[in-house]
Structures are given as C-alpha cells and as structure tokens.
C-alpha cells in the first residue's frame, strides 16, 4: 500500500484525503466522546462546589467562590472552614473516587471480569487489614519506614492480595465465576483478620479502627491529600501510555498476543499499579466500597472501552460518585455526618446485584 497520506488528526481537513463515511463516523464518535468527558467534568465541578457548600453550616455559592479565590470581601471564618476542612475533604473525595474507579476499571480489563474491583476481590480488605495492624498495634511490616507504616502496610497487604488474584488468574480454568469466588474468600479472610485485630487491640484503638473501616472523609488533611494526588498523578500517565494495549487486551488474550502485546507483563504491571491505586486511599480514608465497581461501569456505558477515553471517564465517574456520596453523607441524616463508606454501599450493593442478575440471564 504505497502513497500513504501524511496528514494527522487535527490537521486541516483540506490537506488530507477525503475520509470514507466509516472513517468520518469514527471521527464524529471520537469527538462525541470528548464532549461526554467535558460534560462529566463540568458536572463534577458542580458537585465539588455543592460539596463545599454543604455541612453543618450551609453556604451559598456566592459566599464560597470569593472565599476560594481569596477575594477581599470574603468572610474570614468561611475562608477558614473552606481551606482547612471542606476543601481538602472535597478534593480527597475526587482523588480517592478517581483512584478507586481507575483501579476497578483496570481490574475489570485485565481479568476480563465485570464484577472485579478492589473492594469485591479483597484488595481493599487486604489493605485495610495491613493498615489496621499499624493503627492498632503500631506494627510496621517494613520497620525502616515506621513514619509511613499505615500506608505502607496497606500497600504491602494489597500487593499480596493482588498477587494472589494474579497468580490465580493465570491458571487454566480461571473463569470469571472462580475469580469472583476467590475474591469472596479473600474478602472473608481479611475481614476475619481485621476482626481479630479489633479483638486484640485496646479499646481506644478499636474505636479508631472501627471508625476507619467504615470509610470516612472526615479526617482528611492537606498532606494526606497531597500523597494521594501524587500517587494518582504518577499512575494515571502510565496507564494512559498503555491505552491502546489495554484496550486490545479486552479483545482477548490470544488476540492481544497475536497483535504483539506482551500480555503477561502487561497484566502483572497493571495489577501492581492497581494495588497501589487501591491501597493508598484505604490508608487515609478507610475502605470505601463499590466506587471501583460502579464508576467504570457508568463510564463504559457512556463512552465504551477505548481506553483513551474510558480511563479518564472512569476516573471522572468515580470522582463524581464519591463527591456525590460525600454530599449525601452530610445530608441524608440531618445534623449527622455518616461515614461515606455506608453511603457508597447503599448505592453499590443494588448495582452489584443487578450485574449478577444480568450475567445470570446472559449465561
């Protein structure tokens, strides 16, 4: 095939050859996906502002925006509440939501399993157990880094669980159902370990662990937020660079391998990054379930599985879900701040059941 045209996407349409109807349709579809991304991002921005306005004291947008941008007329007490409490909390919801949804999206991709997510397959539970060791007993798996023992314990345990799932998924006969069952076994195991930690820990430590197992955004600080943002900022570009390979993997492992993709390596590296994405949030805000399951499914419905768009869409949908859950956690029971993990479970469990029922009908 000689005489290939040189013009690239975004170049002037006059310079390139006339596109076929199918190619033009593909371009339109691509633009539509970009528009959908922009739309979700806009809705997310609105949710974050609403999240900032909601709390024991309610503020209007007219009060919040000047306080955020540091305008002269802004009330100092609003500015203090926003900058010290609500802004880090709201941004943490966005960051953690995005991280969990991307982790779920990639687990679903590499395991070819719609029911996969850090929460449903036990990676979150493992991270929770690891973190609880540090919270309850001050036990550091890596004693050299005792200052970071909570996130590091969480990460190491998450890597362990991810490793177990990965090795299992490479076996012949590792069907979707069996991986889900393995996940259930992992969830039960790590929950039992966590209960054991609570049983053995001091009363004071138990209160901390229990509060934190429910998943809560209420003790977020800027440094914790910073760690989560840096982690997300490091992992996302790695996935984005592999967008084509990861999408191709969805066509099946044989197919991906036949197109020159090193499937084993891609799966292993992705699983390790998933463990990182899922464990760091757990270390700071506890186990928040179902975002990693529901977020990618909404993204897939809206935008399909071309990872160039699916990945950012998953991140945005996860962020949107957790941000909305944060608002609900402040408003569902007036005057009470519910742990946000309870809210996400209320949303997530029916969704999970719907997925199972859909698969049962298809099977």
């Amino acid at each position: 095939m000689s005489g290939r045209a040189r013009s690239v996407e975004g170049a002037s349409p006059v310079a390139g050859p006339a596109l076929s109807a199918a190619a033009a349709a593909y371009r339109r579809r691509t633009h539509r996906k970009q528009a959908v991304l922009a739309f979700i991002a806009t809705v997310l921005l609105g949710t974050v502002l609403l999240d900032l306005a909601t709390g024991p004291a309610r503020y209007s947008l007219g009060e919040i925006i000047p306080a955020l941008v540091g305008a002269d007329g802004a009330a100092p007490e609003i500015r203090a509440i926003l900058w010290n409490i609500r802004l880090p909390t709201a941004l943490m919801a966005v960051t953690v939501g995005a991280a969990l949804a991307v982790a779920g999206a990639q687990m679903q991709t590499i395991l070819a399993n719609p029911m996969a997510s850090p929460f449903t397959l036990g990676i979150s539970g493992a991270a929770g157990f690891g973190a609880s060791l540090a919270l309850a007993f001050g036990f550091a798996i890596l004693p050299a880094f005792v200052d970071y023992m909570v996130p590091l314990n969480a990460l190491l345990m998450a890597l362990l669980a991810a490793g177990i799932i990965h090795v299992f998924s490479l076996q012949r006969g590792a069907t979707t159902e069996r991986i889900v069952l393995l996940g259930i076994a992992l969830v039960f195991s790590f929950n039992a370990f966590l209960t054991l930690v609570q049983f053995l820990a001091s009363e004071q430590a138990v209160a901390a662990v229990v509060f934190w197992t429910m998943g809560s955004l209420s003790r977020v600080t800027w440094p914790k937020l910073g760690v989560c943002i840096v982690m997300l900022a490091l992992v996302l570009p790695v996935f984005m660079r592999r967008a084509w390979s990861l999408t191709t993997l969805r066509l099946g492992e044989d197919r991906a391998a036949s197109l020159g993709i090193d499937v084993r390596r891609l799966k292993l590296e992705t699983m390790a990054l998933v463990a990182l994405l899922a464990s760091v949030p757990v270390a700071f805000v506890g186990t928040i379930g179902f975002i990693g399951l529901v977020g990618p499914h909404i993204a897939r419905l809206l935008i399909g599985e071309d990872q160039r768009f699916f990945l950012p869409a998953s991140a945005l949908c996860g962020a949107l879900l957790l941000s909305s859950s944060s608002i609900l956690s402040k408003t569902l029971v007036p005057g009470t701040l519910l742990p946000v993990g309870i809210v996400t479970a209320i949303i997530g469990v029916p969704f999970f059941l719907a997925l199972i029922l859909r698969d049962a009908r298809r099977g």
Binding site: A11, S20, A23, R29, A243, T247, S258, E305
Partner: protein, 253 residues
C-alpha cells in the same frame, strides 16, 4: 512488490508438560505467494504449530523466516475477540496502531477503510462487537489480522463460522494477497475441497507430526483421506473439470 519472503521449519516442537503436541516438524522452504493448507484431524497439533510459528509458544527447533519482520507476521487465533465495548471500526484501529501515539492518523484510517472494503464488511463499521454474530466476529478478526499488512499470514480455521459465500470470499481475498503481494499463507482448514480450490500446497498433520506435504493436488488424495481421516473418499473431476473430494463414508473397521 518487494523482495520475497520465505518460511522454513526445522525440527520444530512444542510440549505441554510431558505431552509433545508438535514433534519434530520440518518443511522445505516455503516461498512467497504460496498458500499452504494445513490439514489434519482434531488434536493433530495444527493450532499449536501455528502459534509456535507466530512466536506465541516456545519449544525446540527453529522457525526461519526471511524477509519479514516480527510485526509482519500476522496470526489469526482460532478463538475470536471477546465482546469488548468497542465498535468494529475501533477494533480494527486497535490492530493497526503500532506506535504509542494517541491520535489516529489519516493514513491509519485509510488502511482500516481499505481492509474493511477488501473483506466487504464496511457496513459493519459502526456496529458494536457485542452485537455481532459469530461469523461477523470472525470477519472482524480477519480484518484485524489483514490490516497490519502481514507478509507471513498464519490463520487458524478462518472459515469455521462463515457461511458459504463468506468462505469463498475470505479465501479468495487471501489467495489474491498471496498472488499479488507475495504473502506466504499458512491456513488450517477442515474442508479439503476448500483446500483443493484455494491452496497451492498442503501439509497434513497427525499426532503432532507432518505426514504428507507438497502440492495440494498431490497431497490431497483418497489414500491420504483414508489413512489420516479414516474416511472412504475419492477425487473426481466435475463437469467443469475441477477436482472434488467426495466423501463416501466412514472407513470400514
């Protein structure tokens, strides 16, 4: 047309555990433009041999390919794409993307268009993979393999899910690629009449080894059908003078 390609197997083997699935397979050099039908009963090792040549399995022996780079070896697996949430067009773009660039160039789009057109499935372009029939999925898988413009084409039962018209269409396209671009095609088939019609050469496998190979008219014979497939068969010329394999029934025990 650029310089020719050649493919030769030297003592190639593949084992799963202790079980030798492909055992000491050697061939003479297969030249540009050859369409080689790979025949043999179920479990003979055809799929495994194709995977081994494609570089997806390891084992003893050598696969010598001259004149084609690694990415110019196209392999069509027997099992077709799982239903991912992408359209036919998007899925063929996936196959043509070789570099990491995010955007899809006009050249790549042209390549996709040409392939869909060549296979006569332009109409499927906007459909979701999930909504396709088995045969349509097979056509898409073939498009994914051909869009990369392979110089060595390894196809594992490309016609298994296709209707009669599509079978002739696909094998016709493949034969044209061999004749006009000098592609080497190695294609496993169950239908010996398709092999007679489209393949210049044939290789017959049984129990992991090659038991006959040569020009297809020489290899595909009544004796071979009896020995390898255990069926009574005869080759007769039809009223248009074409050879056809007629299967009379199972071989008497």
């Amino acid at each position: 047309m650029s310089a020719g390609v050649s493919l030769q197997l030297i003592n190639v083997g593949v084992s799963y555990g202790r079980h030798k699935v492909v055992d000491g397979v050697s061939t003479s050099a297969i030249a540009s433009g050859a369409v080689v039908a790979l025949l043999g009963p179920n479990g003979a090792g055809k799929s495994t041999l194709l995977k081994r040549i494609a570089g997806l399995l390891t084992g003893p022996g050598r696969v010598d390919i001259v004149g084609a780079k690694r990415e110019e070896i196209g392999y069509l697996p027997q099992h077709h794409a799982s239903p991912a949430g992408v359209t036919v067009y998007e899925s063929v773009i996936l196959a043509v993307k070789r570099n990491g660039a995010w955007s899809v160039s006009a050249a790549e789009l042209t390549q996709v268009d040409a392939t869909l057109d060549m296979l006569g499935i332009t109409g499927l372009a906007p459909r979701e993979l999930e909504d396709l029939s088995g045969g349509q999925r097979q056509m898409v898988a073939i498009a994914q393999t051909l869009v990369r413009e392979p110089r060595v084409l390894l196809m594992d039962e490309p016609t298994s899910a296709l209707d009669l018209h599509r079978q002739l269409e696909v094998l016709g396209v493949i034969r044209d690629l061999a004749q006009t671009r000098g592609v080497i095609v190695l294609v496993s088939l169950h239908d010996v009449n398709l092999a007679l019609r489209f393949a210049s050469h044939a290789m017959v496998m049984a129990r992991g080894q090659i038991v006959a190979s040569g020009r297809s008219l020489d290899v595909i014979s009544a004796q071979m059908m009896q020995a390898v497939f255990h069926v009574e068969a005869r080759i007769e010329l039809c009223s248009r003078g074409r050879p056809h394999m007629i299967i009379d029934g199972m071989k008497e025990p």
